[in-house]
């Protein structure tokens, strides 16, 4: 098990040997994993302090002056404070600035509601040029970091605070591509980020308890979303479950729903998300309290299945 933020920081160190880029951090190099990078390449870390609005202007300016890719790192919630700066100074000019945000979702844990970001997928999807990614495992994070560095344009990518289970991931990470981790033609569970591992657990439970065959799709890129994978679901399964560590509006369920409604045969969506604001607690306990455990998913799916 490894925290994706640590994987990110370590990957930056590896990539830095052969790639020139700069990192703008908002006083959280310990929290975002870039402390690894700062140790080895101190002159390539631009510290702007607790000033997320300025961080985006600075990133844009650095890109203008040097033409280098620029990473902005911080906590997901507080980076949203700079959204309006990113909207004009980064997105409008399609600047090569990549935001890598730790502390997304209830996964943030004990720091509580002020720090648990439940709106970031929504917030960054809205900007026309931003690519939005949430990797599901340490191995996928490593591959995604390399792809994001090579991609020319604005990106928002969640990392993760707590250690997550490893899942196998090989080869290149492709923006816009989903990964079918389990086959099945009764329903599809489309999950992103931390919830992918739990989606596999839910699929197991569904099969063991009711013989329901659930397809599990890891959808790390929320934008541009893998429309063809969703189209296949519409043609092949009875309904889609979306599963995300994010609030109700604007995240995976809306992205998938948007895609489903563009097909000729739209099917129902059962969205699993975090209702309302977060609260302090151990991440596993929070999943229980907010009813987003695999058991909760299983229960809700069975209800829908029996009422088809």
């Amino acid at each position: 098990m490894q925290a994706l933020r640590e994987v990110f920081g370590q990957t930056l160190v590896e990539l830095a040997a052969n790639n020139e880029f700069l990192v703008v951090d908002c006083d959280v190099k310990g929290g975002t994993g870039v402390h690894h990078f700062a140790k080895v390449y101190p002159n390539r870390l631009i510290q702007v302090g607790i000033a997320e609005q300025n961080a985006f202007g600075v990133a844009a300016g650095l890109n203008i002056a040097t033409s280098l890719p620029i990473f902005v790192t911080g906590f997901a919630t507080f980076l949203m404070r700079g959204w309006e700066v990113a909207r004009l100074s980064v997105d409008y000019g399609n600047r090569n600035v990549k935001i890598i945000a730790s502390h997304g979702g209830l996964d943030t844990g004990e720091d509580g509601a002020s720090n648990q970001c439940l709106e970031d997928f929504s917030c960054w999807r809205t900007l026309p040029n931003f690519v939005v990614i949430s990797p599901s495992s340490p191995a996928q994070m490593k591959a995604a970091t390399k792809t994001v560095l090579e991609y020319k344009g604005p990106v928002y990518m969640r990392s993760g605070r707590s250690p997550w289970n490893e899942m196998p991931f090989e080869g290149e990470f492709k923006i816009g591509k989903s990964y079918t981790l389990r086959e099945g033609n009764d329903i599809a569970i489309i999950a992103t980020g931390k919830m992918v591992w739990y989606a596999l657990k839910a699929a197991e439970l569904l099969y063991l308890s009711r013989g329901i065959h659930a397809r599990v799709i890891d959808m790390p890129t929320l934008k541009p979303i893998d429309h063809s994978a969703i189209l296949s679901c519409c043609n092949e399964v009875k309904f889609i479950v979306t599963y995300e560590d994010h609030g109700r509006f604007g995240g995976l369920n809306d992205a998938v729903g948007n895609s489903v409604l563009q097909t000729r045969h739209p099917i129902p969506i059962l969205p699993i998300y975090v209702e309302g604001h977060g609260r302090s607690g151990d991440p596993d306990d929070l999943m229980k309290v907010y009813h987003i455990t695999p058991e909760d998913v299983c229960r809700e799916v069975i209800w829908e299945w029996e009422h088809l």
Partner: protein, 262 residues
């Protein structure tokens, strides 16, 4: 020096005329704040080298900047009639669609932030060149400006110059009555900047402020607090908040203004 000053003052007059013509034709724009900074813009572009960067952080003064571009051969005069028209490169606030514009502005405070980033990037890449940002005084109410001020001093950006178009007015009223930003000298000094205070509508004052050799700055960023008159050059607009914008100029207002500027 004096000859040069006459030339610059003549340029400034042309630029004021062209600014008002654009706003009148487009039936919208911000005349007051565009006119107040014309002298500063005219001088800045007369000394700007290809290695320097200029950012109009008070983006609503765009028509003045476009007129400056024409005056300095960076834009063809015929384009000016397209100001604010659909599909024109001369948008209401500057965008990077227009060659010579470094970053899109129009959201106050952002130009300053991008400016500090460019200055840092030039230092990192060991490139020469200065970054000059023009800000409004109302703009200093945006918190990001003070994030920028801290950052510039912390990183010793002596290649960064801010000019504050200190006309004392913002969109509805005086800055003093809306949200006091004064005392500005004290604030910038406290933030560790090198501060100069001048009359921003006098070419000789402006020239003197710019002539401080860079190596005397001793690793501080510099700010010129340029006292100006909003609507400068047109008697019925001078000192009036109602000419802030975005507003239509009547035919009569244009005629009277051009008379004064001839």
């Amino acid at each position: 020096m004096q000859d040069n000053r006459n030339v610059l003052e003549e340029k400034a007059r042309h630029i004021r005329r062209a600014t008002l013509l654009q706003i009148h034709r487009a039936k919208s724009g911000h005349p007051g704040g565009a006119l107040s900074c014309v002298d500063l813009l005219t001088f800045a572009y007369s000394i700007k080298t290809p290695e320097d960067f200029f950012v109009l952080s008070k983006g609503h003064a765009a028509p003045a900047l476009y007129a400056v571009f024409v005056e300095y051969g960076l834009l063809d005069e015929a384009s000016l009639v397209t100001f604010r028209q659909v599909n024109s490169k001369l948008q209401g606030h500057p965008t990077t669609e227009l060659p010579g514009i470094v970053t899109p502005t129009g959201s106050l405070g952002q130009g300053a932030s991008v400016g500090v980033g460019i200055a840092m990037g030039l230092k990192y890449a060991k490139k020469p060149g200065r970054v000059i940002c023009l800000l409004g005084d109302g703009e200093l109410q945006e918190g990001i400006v003070w994030e920028v001020a801290m950052c510039a001093a912390h990183w010793h950006l002596d290649n960064l110059l801010f000019i504050i178009d200190y006309n004392g007015l913002q969109s509805d009223a005086k800055v003093w009555d809306t949200m006091r930003v004064q005392p500005l000298w004290d604030k910038f000094k406290a933030f560790n900047w090198y501060v100069k205070e001048i009359d921003g509508n006098r070419m000789d004052d402006i020239e003197m402020a710019f002539s401080i050799p860079i190596d005397t700055l001793v690793t501080h960023p510099m700010v010129i607090l340029a006292h100006t008159t909003k609507g400068k050059g047109v008697s019925f607009m001078e000192g009036k908040a109602e000419f802030h914008g975005s507003m239509k100029l009547t035919d009569n207002q244009l005629r009277l203004a051009l008379q004064e500027l001839s």
